[in-house]
Symmetry: C2
Subunit: 222 residues, 2 copies
């Protein structure tokens, strides 16, 4: 298809497509004459991936380039390719080298992951993110012991194992696998966050004289 049709089918404006071509995020089309190039479904898949990384993952162009490079390099295994996208979604804290509380929290996280038996790289940014969360909980006076954390680890693993890994089409194009991973991670993550708040409200209503008090929230809120 021509660039105009690629734009129509993908919903991405032509100038934006040209920008992605210049930035190397989108591979060049097949040149059929001096002024004309042909694009195919691979380009459509790539545009969907870029949109997912940009709009859902909210990644900067430099991070998108890294993910696209992993997708394009067929020597990069699928696990590593997915890991590149996952790591790009992380927001690890600034390093706290030499801070004793930080070192202790990070060791706590490493020990916990080892005890869970999870196959997670020692360099996974999630380890630092989790250590930071632990540290903040403690500074606010919450114990944040393993008994508090394990239910979250168990819930996450159940969702990953029984539900989420099955969503990713491993046998299709590499772009599509990464796009699905990013969309699932971010948007079902958002759904989970909202369901938690709704579940809190519901349980709070059930525990705390529901009928009268529940009506109060409604009135106050309108």
């Amino acid at each position: 298809m021509r660039i105009s049709q690629l734009s129509a089918e993908s919903g991405v404006p032509i100038p934006t497509i040209k920008y992605y071509l210049r930035e190397g995020l989108l591979p060049q089309g097949e040149q059929t004459s001096a002024t004309r190039a042909e694009y195919g479904t691979a380009h459509l898949h790539r545009l969907r991936l870029i949109r997912a990384l940009l709009e859902v993952g909210r990644l900067p162009v430099a991070a998108i380039r890294k993910v696209v490079e992993a997708v394009e390099d067929e020597r990069t295994g699928v696990h590593t390719m997915l890991g590149t996208a996952h790591y790009a979604l992380a927001s690890p804290p600034d390093p706290h080298a030499g801070d004793e509380d930080w070192e202790e929290a990070r060791e706590h996280v490493d020990r916990l992951i080892a005890e869970l038996g999870w196959a997670v790289s020692p360099h996974a940014p999630g380890r630092d993110e989790l250590a930071q969360t632990l540290l903040t909980l403690r500074r606010l006076g919450m114990a944040a012991i393993d008994a508090d954390l394990l239910p979250y680890a168990a819930a996450a693993m159940n969702l990953a194992r029984d539900h989420e890994m099955g969503m990713i089409p491993f046998d299709g194009p590499r772009d599509v696998a990464v796009e699905t991973l990013v969309v699932c991670t971010v948007l079902y993550g958002k759904a989970l966050e909202v369901f938690r708040r709704l579940a809190h409200e519901s349980e709070s209503a059930r525990l705390l004289t529901p009928a009268r008090d529940h009506a109060e929230v409604r009135t106050q809120d309108t």
Copy 2:
């Protein structure tokens, strides 16, 4: 205690305490002379609550004032008070009045919550947040049917029922209950998000020829 001791015990600088007093977020101390006021543990609790809403909840001062008003007004039931904090943490999308896809997504959410039997106010901002997430999933070509959403609802309710509601000290000061709710919601929510990414990595390693490929992530990442 004097304001200087309140500052030392809470870790909040005196000018910030004075700002909270002016803004009405912190109740005035007991005036013991023209230039001296006494503060107590209630002030310490309030300062901890304000810090949690500010640093963990990342709420603007106007939203913090609303939460503080609900905490201070003893006629506000505990369920409504907690709901005020919860609703302040929400980030509902802009209204989409008249947009058919939006109306359909919102009806889908309302039906789902009714089928779950959850006691959630019709005005809970989470309903709109969930509808927006559904809409985005669909625009990206994901079916996002009930079978996809229900595991998240179940995981959230299990955590709320078996674990999270028990963390909140309902029999203590009102400030402490709200502070705990906000800290638990936000920080354990962050822990859950990170555990999900770690669980994905671990499952991906398990499914996709772990040994070799897993080592690749490590090498690439150093």
